[in-house]
């Protein structure tokens, strides 16, 4: 069904287009990952930690702030990639007709879609890197082991970018993105071991949490920031890669059906 000659390195040209656009607005976009972790650390760390005390996680006793700090990187990766390939890509595809313009050139639809997913992951990497610096300085992320999170953010970004692109391929109007956000992203944000360990959940819910890609990204983030996790990193890594490949395949099929009859 999918032909191989539609894939080439030419997708980097589309990636580069998004970079050129981003260079105009990076000064504003740069502030979010810089300040967001600080707000969370302040709110949850200072405000909450008095109520909660310590968290037992992966055979370690952690302060609540130390527990959530690495997960903030994972959620930032998720938001950045998912928003880019849903709202961002939808606007380019539907309102700006950017893809139509590109399709008249030697680019294939597949290259455009793959480039959009990689671009979303690039934004995730950028956000994760800035947050890494902030949290590293504050002592919540161990360095240099924390630097591993940069390539991990790429893989996580690809996974969330791919599923976002899939939703873009099947969503009739831009307002309908509320649905996957409400039904998928929000529960994932809350129940992926981000704000409390999954092991605190009732036994029957735990497998559902393990299916969330954010759970595995948060696991990897903790493994390389604080040196402990519930799940073996290799399992989380393989899960995210498979998730990325699976949803990229679905996204390509959905976009092809949507744009090319």
């Amino acid at each position: 069904m999918i032909r191989l000659d539609v894939f080439s390195w030419r997708f980097l040209r589309v990636w580069r287009r998004n970079l050129v656009v981003y260079q105009k607005i990076w000064k504003v976009n740069f502030l979010t990952p810089l300040f967001e972790p600080l707000f969370y650390i302040l709110a949850f760390g200072l405000g909450f930690s008095g109520l909660i005390g310590g968290v037992h996680y992966g055979a370690k006793e952690l302060s609540y702030t130390a527990f959530i700090a690495p997960a903030l990187i994972a959620t930032a990766v998720m938001w950045n990639a998912f928003f880019e390939t849903t709202y961002g890509s939808f606007v380019r595809m539907y309102y700006q007709k950017t893809f139509d313009g590109m399709l008249a050139t030697p680019l294939s639809l597949e290259e455009i879609i793959v480039a959009e997913i990689f671009w979303s992951a690039t934004k995730s990497v950028g956000a994760a890197t800035i947050m890494l610096a902030v949290l590293g300085v504050l002592g919540f992320v161990a360095l240099p082991s924390g630097l591993v999170l940069i390539p991990v953010a790429l893989i996580g970004g690809l996974a969330f970018g791919a599923i976002g692109m899939f939703f873009t391929g099947v969503t009739p109007t831009i307002d309908m993105f509320n649905l996957p956000i409400f039904l998928f992203i929000t529960p994932m944000f809350l129940f992926s071991g981000t704000f409390f360990p999954v092991s605190n959940l009732p036994g029957w819910v735990q497998p559902a949490a393990l299916a969330f890609p954010l759970y595995h990204l948060a696991e990897l983030s903790r493994r390389f920031s604080i040196g402990t996790s519930e799940t073996a990193p290799i399992i989380s890594l393989v899960y995210l890669i498979l998730f990325f490949l699976f949803f990229t395949f679905l996204a390509l099929a959905a976009m092809r059906r949507r744009l090319i009859q």
């Binding site: 040209r13 700006q96 007709k97 313009g101 050139t105």
Partner: protein
């Protein structure tokens, strides 16, 4: 002559409906070729197949002697497309639109800058090169889309309704630019709803309807063949006139409240009509491509 484009028994089906039905035509090198037809005739579908956006259901579509299904990328390297919709990138400036687009064709940055400066100059947009696309007028945006479609120095330029929605000044400016491009020997495929535009620009054209070619020829030969030399339009014709026209075998179209008479070259217009039936409601004019178009595709509304 070298064939740049060869369409042979092309079929495109959407959910069992044939949008393009065994369409055949060809375009030779250096030709300015028109693809005309009412809405829903299959023009845009054909164009979209031409630039590899839609896969044909059956038939063959060859550009530069290569098949679109297999050699789509090589064909697209050598083709320029000026879209009907504004597909300019609103996130980029005027100049960046050209430079980024050049990137899609792997044109090196230095060369891209040279070409974009040339094209902006040619389309009188140099003063706007740093402007945002949103700030351009309709005519300027259209010229920029044209400039962008030439960034890869195409051997075939596809123009999909290039002057739709433009004011007369902008339209004439676009026509002048297109004539200048034509003079360089560029092969062009044009679709338009403006018969004046097709008459002025096209060396040869086809009129298609229901996915099939109705007629093919130069604008003038089509007018001669299908709409005579001159035309008389008579408003509110009475039955006596209609009977007279029929009895004398005058080529005509009867639209009930309007009678259109086609008068071939070299034939004098019947004086009886002039004297007996035309008091103040007759219009005498030359035949145009629009008459041909309406005669062949009918006058009822489409869609």
């Amino acid at each position: 002559m070298e064939k740049i484009l060869q369409v042979d028994k092309l079929i495109k089906q959407f959910n069992g409906l044939k949008a393009v039905d065994e369409l055949s035509f060809s375009v030779e090198k250096g030709e300015f070729f028109g693809l005309l037809g009412p809405n829903g005739a299959g023009k845009t579908t054909t164009i979209r197949m031409l630039y590899g956006f839609l896969p044909p259901t059956a038939g063959s579509l060859q550009v530069f002697g290569m098949d679109i299904t297999n050699d789509w990328r090589r064909i697209k390297f050598r083709t320029g497309v000026c879209h009907q919709d504004n597909t300019l990138d609103p996130d980029l400036s005027v100049e960046q639109n050209l430079l980024v687009y050049a990137g899609y064709y792997s044109i090196p940055p230095k060369e891209a800058r040279e070409r974009s400066a040339e094209l902006l100059e040619f389309f009188a947009l140099t003063h706007k090169s740093k402007a945002k696309v949103m700030e351009l007028s309709g005519g300027m945006a259209r010229r920029l889309i044209l400039a962008r479609s030439l960034i890869n120095r195409p051997e075939l330029l596809i123009l999909d309704e290039p002057t739709t929605g433009l004011d007369p000044q902008s339209r004439h400016q676009v026509w002048e630019k297109l004539e200048a491009l034509k003079a360089t020997g560029l092969t062009v495929l044009l679709t338009t709803h403006y018969m004046e535009e097709a008459t002025r620009l096209c060396d040869r054209l086809v009129i298609v309807d229901h996915g099939k070619v109705l007629v093919e020829g130069s604008p003038q030969s089509l007018i001669d063949r299908h709409a005579g030399k001159n035309i008389v339009e008579i408003e509110g014709p009475d039955q006596a006139l209609k009977d007279f026209v029929r009895a004398n075998g005058i080529e005509h179209d009867d639209l009930d409240d309007r009678l259109i008479l086609y008068v071939p070259e070299g034939q004098d217009f019947d004086n009886t009509i002039r004297e007996q039936y035309c008091s103040d409601k007759c219009t005498y004019r030359s035949s145009t491509l629009e008459d041909v178009f309406l005669r062949l595709t009918g006058r009822e509304l489409r869609e």
